[in-house]
């Protein structure tokens, strides 16, 4: 699923002018160690953690894009870092549960390949 499509589904907005790309696997966590443990190359990460640390950790794992939930105030430095590491960053006002629910129902799979209806 394209990041632009994902952005539309969660009524979000892109935080910087990144190139659109595909993300088919998705994971959600606020714990950095968990991200390190379960992160997959190119996955979409949903998180409520609006810190630069999240970007750094995401870079280590190689995530394909990040969706920040609950419409948090995203620090400018976090956006700058995301740009530097070339990691797409989207924010939404939806809460974690709803964002996950909508994306799951729209066909994104979890890191184990489990998808809606399967």
């Amino acid at each position: 699923m394209l990041l632009s499509e994902i952005t539309r589904i969660v009524e979000g907005k892109a935080l910087w002018n990144f190139d659109d790309k595909d993300c088919d696997v998705c994971g959600a966590t606020d714990m950095l160690s968990e991200l390190l443990a379960v992160g997959r190359d190119g996955m979409l990460l949903i998180s409520g953690m609006a810190t630069s640390q999240l970007i750094k950790t995401a870079d280590i794992v190689g995530v394909g894009g990040i969706l920040i939930v609950r419409g948090k105030n995203i620090p400018e430095e976090m956006i700058e870092l995301a740009k530097k590491y070339d990691i797409p960053l989207i924010s939404t006002k939806l809460v974690m549960f709803t964002a996950c629910g909508r994306l799951f129902c729209s066909g994104l799979s979890d890191i184990n390949g489990t998808r809606f209806g399967y």
């Binding site: 950095l32 160690s33 640390q53 950790t57 190689g62």
Partner: protein, 313 residues
């Protein structure tokens, strides 16, 4: 070959403060002198032990009964006699204040497998076996060698075992100083290392494992050590060794720290998303071999070995 005694003598200062009380098995299973040998035999069988201290009504040490004594009783058909008839009365025992050197000496001198421990009033308060002694020594050294059993097949192959032994040729190829004062800088060293390894044309999957493990180790230094730290990396064509060390307060209980979900991280770091208690287990998952050296007050050294696996090209 040096005897165990000589080795322990050399490192004795390190153990000088360790007394029997700290590593004995306690409470201890005892048998009363007026109980039958049959009963003592049952106790040994159900607890799977090979010797029991014998005490009187007041828990005072009277003797010790071993499997050998029971066999004798069996041979002479006196299983229903009181324990006091077959026990050894000249018991060599330890005081709970005895230091580890004295314990080692007694094991060497007498060749027994176990010693009862008594307090000032001659009450039996514990038992020390060779295993207790060994575990106490290892714990004190706080040496933990963790090897992931899932990688056993891989570890068994020849190329693994013939890893260049001179890897510690001190040609550190990447070095990074960890700034513990700034939590927001956590992961900088790992990111730099990742960049460095990619520039050396290592495959990205391989580099990712190394980066994740290094990130966790680096974060541990920042969150827990309250001291400076250093990341050092040694590189071979198919092998990378990363050492992360600090000069901080050390890990008191490595076994506990290894447990997934166990964390001593303060609340303010949890706000950053750290402190899930997954750090060390994440490292274990990523590294092919991990060695932690630490004890209270002596800092931590985490040594991680990574071999390129098939499919990581």
């Amino acid at each position: 070959m040096e005897s165990a005694n000589e080795i322990i003598k050399k490192i004795q200062p390190y153990f000088a403060d360790l007394s029997v009380e700290q590593f004995m098995t306690s409470p201890v299973i005892t048998v009363r002198d007026d109980q039958t040998i049959l009963y003592a035999k049952e106790l040994m069988r159900s607890w799977r032990i090979s010797g029991l201290p014998v005490v009187d009504d007041e828990e005072l040490l009277k003797g010790i009964i071993s499997i050998e004594d029971i066999i004798h009783a069996l041979e002479s058909g006196s299983l229903t006699s009181p324990v006091s008839e077959k026990m050894s009365e000249n018991v060599v025992f330890l005081s709970k204040y005895d230091k580890i050197m004295e314990v080692v000496k007694k094991f060497e001198l007498h060749g027994f497998g176990r010693f009862p421990v008594i307090d000032d009033a001659h009450h039996v308060v514990g038992m020390v076996t060779k295993q207790d002694l060994m575990i106490a020594l290892l714990k004190k050294l706080s040496i933990l060698y963790v090897h992931d059993t899932r990688r056993e097949d891989f570890v068994g192959i020849e190329s693994f075992r013939s890893i260049p032994k001179n890897i510690k040729s001190e040609k550190v190829e990447f070095e990074f100083q960890i700034d513990y004062k700034e939590i927001s800088l956590a992961g900088t060293g790992a990111a730099e290392l990742k960049k460095f390894l990619l520039s050396k044309n290592f495959p990205s999957k391989f580099v990712k494992r190394i980066a994740i493990a290094t990130y966790e180790a680096e974060t541990n230094v920042i969150i827990h050590s309250n001291s400076t730290g250093r990341i050092k990396t040694y590189v071979e064509p198919d092998f990378v060794e990363v050492r992360v060390n600090d000069n901080g307060k050390g890990i008191e209980n490595i076994e506990l720290a290894m447990k997934e979900g166990y964390s001593t991280a303060p609340d303010y770091v949890r706000e950053y998303g750290f402190g899930a208690g997954m750090g060390l287990s994440n490292i274990k998952k990523c590294a092919d071999k991990m060695i932690i050296l630490s004890s209270k007050g002596n800092g931590v050294l985490v040594e991680m070995h990574f071999w390129r696996h098939e499919g990581e090209d």
